[in-house]
Symmetry: none
Subunit: 141 residues, 4 copies
C-alpha cells in the first residue's frame, strides 16, 4: 500500500493552511510514495527556488531509512560521519532534520513520507502534522 494522489493533495493543501494560520513563511511540501518516489509537490509563491531539493531530501531520507527527521537529526548529532556516509550511499539526497515525516497505515507499515520546508524545522513539522492529520493518516515526525 502506498499514499494516493488524493491523500497527497489533502496533505499539501492542509499543510499550507496551517502554515498560513501560524503566520509561517512560504512553505514547500513534497509527498513521496512507499518507494521514495515523488507523488506530489507544491511550492508557495515567494519561497526560495531551491526548496524542492530540501523538501525532497527530508522526506527521502525518512522513507529510505524508515527513520523520521527527528531521529535522523539525533543520529547526525551523535555520529555525524554516519549520516554523512549514509548520504554518500544515497547520492547526497538525504537532508537529516525535522520536517521529514513518515506516513504509516493502520498496520503501521510505512506508506510514504512528507517533506516540509520554508520556516524553522519545528514549525515545518507543526504544519505538516496538521496536513497529515487532515488526510486521516498516522504520522511519525
Amino acid at each position: 500500500m502506498t499514499v494516493s494522489l488524493e491523500q497527497a493533495r489533502i496533505i499539501i493543501a492542509q499543510t499550507f493552511k496551517k502554515g498560513s494560520e501560524l503566520g509561517l513563511k512560504p512553505l514547500s511540501v513534497v509527498v513521496l510514495d512507499a518507494g521514495g518516489h515523488v507523488q506530489a509537490f507544491e511550492r508557495e509563491d515567494g519561497a526560495a527556488p531551491g526548496r524542492f531539493a530540501i523538501a525532497h531530501g527530508k522526506a527521502y531520507g525518512a522513507v529510505m531509512l524508515g527513520m523520521a527527521g527527528r531521529a535522523q537529526m539525533a543520529r547526525a548529532e551523535a555520529q555525524a560521519y554516519f549520516m554523512s556516509a549514509v548520504n554518500g550511499a544515497f547520492g547526497g539526497a538525504v537532508v537529516p532534520v525535522p520536517g521529514g515525516i513518515l506516513l504509516r497505515d493502520d498496520q503501521d507499515a510505512v506508506i510514504g513520507a512528507v517533506g516540509i520546508t520554508g520556516d524553522t524545522s519545528d514549525n515545518d513539522v507543526l504544519a505538516g502534522l496538521a496536513g497529515i492529520a487532515a488526510a486521516g493518516l498516522k504520522a511519525e515526525a
Copy 2:
C-alpha cells in the same frame, strides 16, 4: 515574472482532465518556474514510479535552453552528439522529446515550462496544451 502556484495548479488539473477525456494512460505533470525550479508536480495513481524524472527532464531542458521539446527532438535527431553534450553540461537531467512545453507571457517572455509524461509524446503534448490554455497562458510545444 514567473508562473504562479495558482496557474501551475490549473495547468496540472486541466492536463489530467484532458488526458482523462482522451482516454490516455495515467499522466504525470511538472511545472517549472522561469529559473527551471519545481513549482508543482503531480503523478496520477497507477503511473510508473520514475515519472517525476521524465516529466522534469522534458520541462527542464525546455526552460534551460529556451527551446521546447519538439525543437530539442529535431536537434537531437539532426545532431545527437550535441544534445548528448548539452546533457553532460546539465547533469544528465534533460529529456529532449515532445512533452516539454515553454510557458510565455503576453510579451512572449518565458515564464516557465511544463513537462508531461505517461502516454505517447504526442498525446502528452495534447493534454498539456489543454492545461496551459485553461490557465490563460501562451504555450510553445
Copy 3:
C-alpha cells in the same frame, strides 16, 4: 502490493534451475520491489564480477518506466537519444535490453521487476519467465 522475499527466492531459484536445464552460462538474478529497490539477488559461481549492475539495470529500467526490457530495446533502437537521455535522468542505472521483466499482480498492477543476465538476452528471458511462472506471478518481458 509488492513482491515478497519468499516470492523473490522462488523466482531466483527456479530461474537458475531453468538456466541449468538449458545449459546456459552462469546467471545472475535480481528481484526489485514496486519502488525499484533490491529485494533479493544471487550471482552463480563463475559469473563475471560486474553482473549485479547489469541485472539491476535491466530490472530497474523496467520498474521505473513501467516498460519491460523488450519495449525499452525497441525504443532505444528507434530513438537512441531518448533512452540515452532517460538514462541520464536515472543516473545511468538503466540497461534497456531483454532480461528486464515486469512482475504484475492479478489486477495487472506492477509489483516489481526481475533482471536476469549471464547468457544471451533471449536466453536470460527464457530462464526468468520460468522462474516467475514458478512463483505464480504474471510476467511482461
Copy 4:
C-alpha cells in the same frame, strides 16, 4: 579464493535465523566476494526500501579497505576527515560502522565481506557472526 554462492546463502539464512531468535527488526544482508562485488543479498519483508545501500556500504568498505566495520568506525571517530576522503575516493559507497564483517579463509586471506543492517549496529553484528559461523568461515567484525 572467494566466498561461494552456497556459503553466501548459508550466511544470509542463518543471520536471519539469529535475528529472529533475538527478536531483532527485519534485517537485510549482503555478501560480497573478494573483489567487493555482490554475490547475494536478501531484504526481509518490512525492512525499509533503502537497506541495500546501507548493507552494501558496510561490507564494501570492509573488503575494499581490508578493515572491518568496528575498525572503520574507530578511524572515523579519530579522524573523520580521513574516512570522508576515503569515501570520496570510493564514490560515497562506504558506510564505516559495525555490521561490515570480513570473511577470512583458513590462511586468513580475505575472501569477501558481509554487510548487515536493520537493528542497532551491535545487534547487526551479533546476527551476522552467527550466520558466518554457520557457514564455517572466520569472521572479523
